[in-house]
């Protein structure tokens, strides 16, 4: 990774992401360019991306040094009230990768539970790759639930457990223990690299990756 566009980079409920810290503080394993925003701004940036507008706007970046550090945070003047509003460039990822609960054979994808900005990030993407817990013959009519229609989806992959260590609503809970263990694993470069070598580089697929962690994740 060359550049990170983000609004929060931590281990939720635990603390720092040590690898992110090492990259920013010490340029290890390489320099990382930072494009830093707030959540509210990232939200309108994804929404603008999904709508193929070039920028998003908000009443934001008030009382903060963020706008001073990031030249991509700018403003527009309201053509009616002359108010100044903060702007951020639309985020249109080349590829968005999501994990969802279900897809059908045609590629329609159904997401249940806390959706965050998943829909916006999906529709903002150039290509949309989705891993799912289950693939069914046909999804039932979804009414007002969140669905990504097949013509917005580039590819679907069946990948049970693909949200781990996070959760998949209706399938399995968040592995809170692992978030604590990750703090230890990722703290030092050596231990982190060994873990990646063994469990990620050293396994053939996601099933083998999860199996290699059973009972001895740390």
């Amino acid at each position: 990774a060359r550049k990170l566009t983000f609004s929060w980079g931590g281990n939720p409920g635990v603390g720092s992401l040590h690898r992110l810290r090492d990259a920013v503080e010490n340029a290890w394993p390489g320099p990382l360019e930072i494009d830093e925003h707030s959540h509210a701004a990232m939200a309108v940036a994804y929404r603008a991306g999904a709508a193929r507008l070039p920028f998003g706007m908000l009443r934001g970046y008030i009382g903060t040094d963020l706008a001073k550090q990031n030249p991509r945070i700018r403003s527009v003047t309201c053509p009616y009230t002359a108010e100044k509003l903060a702007t951020v460039p639309a985020v249109n990822p080349d590829v968005t990768i999501l994990h969802a609960q279900r897809a059908d054979k045609r590629g329609n994808v159904a997401i249940d539970g806390i959706v965050g900005a998943a829909r916006e990030a999906a529709l903002a993407a150039g290509k949309l790759l989705v891993t799912v817990e289950t693939i069914v013959e046909e999804l039932p009519p979804a009414m007002n639930n969140v669905v990504l229609p097949h013509f917005t989806v580039t590819a679907v992959s069946h990948c049970p457990g693909g949200a781990w260590p996070s959760y998949a609503h209706g399938h399995y809970a968040r592995d809170n223990d692992f978030y604590l263990k990750w703090d230890v694993i990722a703290r030092e470069r050596g231990r982190f690299t060994a873990w990646i070598d063994r469990h990620v580089r050293g396994t053939a697929d996601h099933r083998a990756f999860l199996a290699s962690l059973q009972g001895q994740a740390a």
């Binding site: 707030s38 908000l58 903060t64 968040r174």
Partner: protein
């Protein structure tokens, strides 16, 4: 005591924008005691959630299952926070100054930080737009500082009233050594209430700026039996729930 003190500040029926950790504990304690109609909103998109245990992340499944509704994150920030529908927003940070400005971005210079912190998240716009902000932080001279290394979100900064911020800024800082409130004239935080058994000197020593004392200095009541009982039961349920191992579909 911090959790109980923060919980007491919440009035029944308020709409509260909650983060994980102590704010979440305080809000749920308030909901389980004197404020049953408190509306909890987590930034992940759950509105009116009533979890039986404390979540370890804003994405925990129970937050969705017990919520009045679950909406997209962009709507939370635009249609609720920015629209002025949040009564109380909770914030914490690595550094705070006497005006309640907060730093959760970097220690040291931005371009070459000594410590890179997680960053703003929702804090910048919570600080601007929530009607009131409650800050919850343990007080140490390293965190309650004269000058921030970086201002992530605004307290009673100069020009706040002309800045476009909808909210009135931080109303209180709940610390582990007492409660601070801003002077109306200056927006500068001063000691407002002591905890039983913690003298003003201890509070002053924990703060890195010369901490003034408000004339009407109060002392908080010790946590009541119902408060302690509710909190301990909540913590016990939480610990039990989080001991359950996660079963992956392998």
């Amino acid at each position: 005591m911090m959790t109980v003190a923060a919980a007491r500040l919440l009035a029944d029926g308020q709409v509260s924008f909650v983060g994980i950790g102590l704010p979440s504990a305080a809000c749920n304690l308030a909901r389980l005691t004197h404020a049953p109609n408190l509306v909890l909103i987590y930034e992940s998109g759950t509105i009116g959630t009533r979890p039986t245990v404390l979540p370890l992340s804003i994405g925990d499944g129970e937050l969705a299952e017990t919520a009045t509704c679950v909406i997209p994150l962009p709507d939370i920030f635009s249609d609720y926070l920015q629209a002025g529908r949040i009564d109380v927003g909770f914030l914490g940070a690595a550094q705070i100054d006497k005006f309640g400005n907060l730093n959760s971005t970097v220690i040291g210079p931005y371009d070459k930080p000594k410590t890179r912190l997680p960053g703003a998240g929702g804090a910048t716009e919570i600080a601007a737009h929530a009607r009131q902000v409650f800050i919850v932080m343990k007080a140490t001279p390293r965190s309650f500082v004269k000058a921030l290394d970086f201002q992530t979100s605004g307290g009673h900064f100069a020009g706040r009233t002309q800045s476009g911020a909808r909210g009135s800024g931080p109303a209180v800082i709940v610390t582990d050594v007492g409660i601070l409130k801003p002077r109306a004239e200056t927006g500068e935080f001063a000691l407002s209430a002591l905890y039983p058994g913690i003298p003003a000197e201890e509070a002053k020593a924990a703060v890195g700026w010369p901490l003034a004392v408000l004339p009407a200095l109060e002392t908080c009541a010790v946590p009541s039996a119902p408060e302690l009982e509710a909190l301990r039961a909540l913590e016990a349920r939480t610990a039990a729930a989080h001991r359950e191992p996660v079963r992956l579909p392998l």
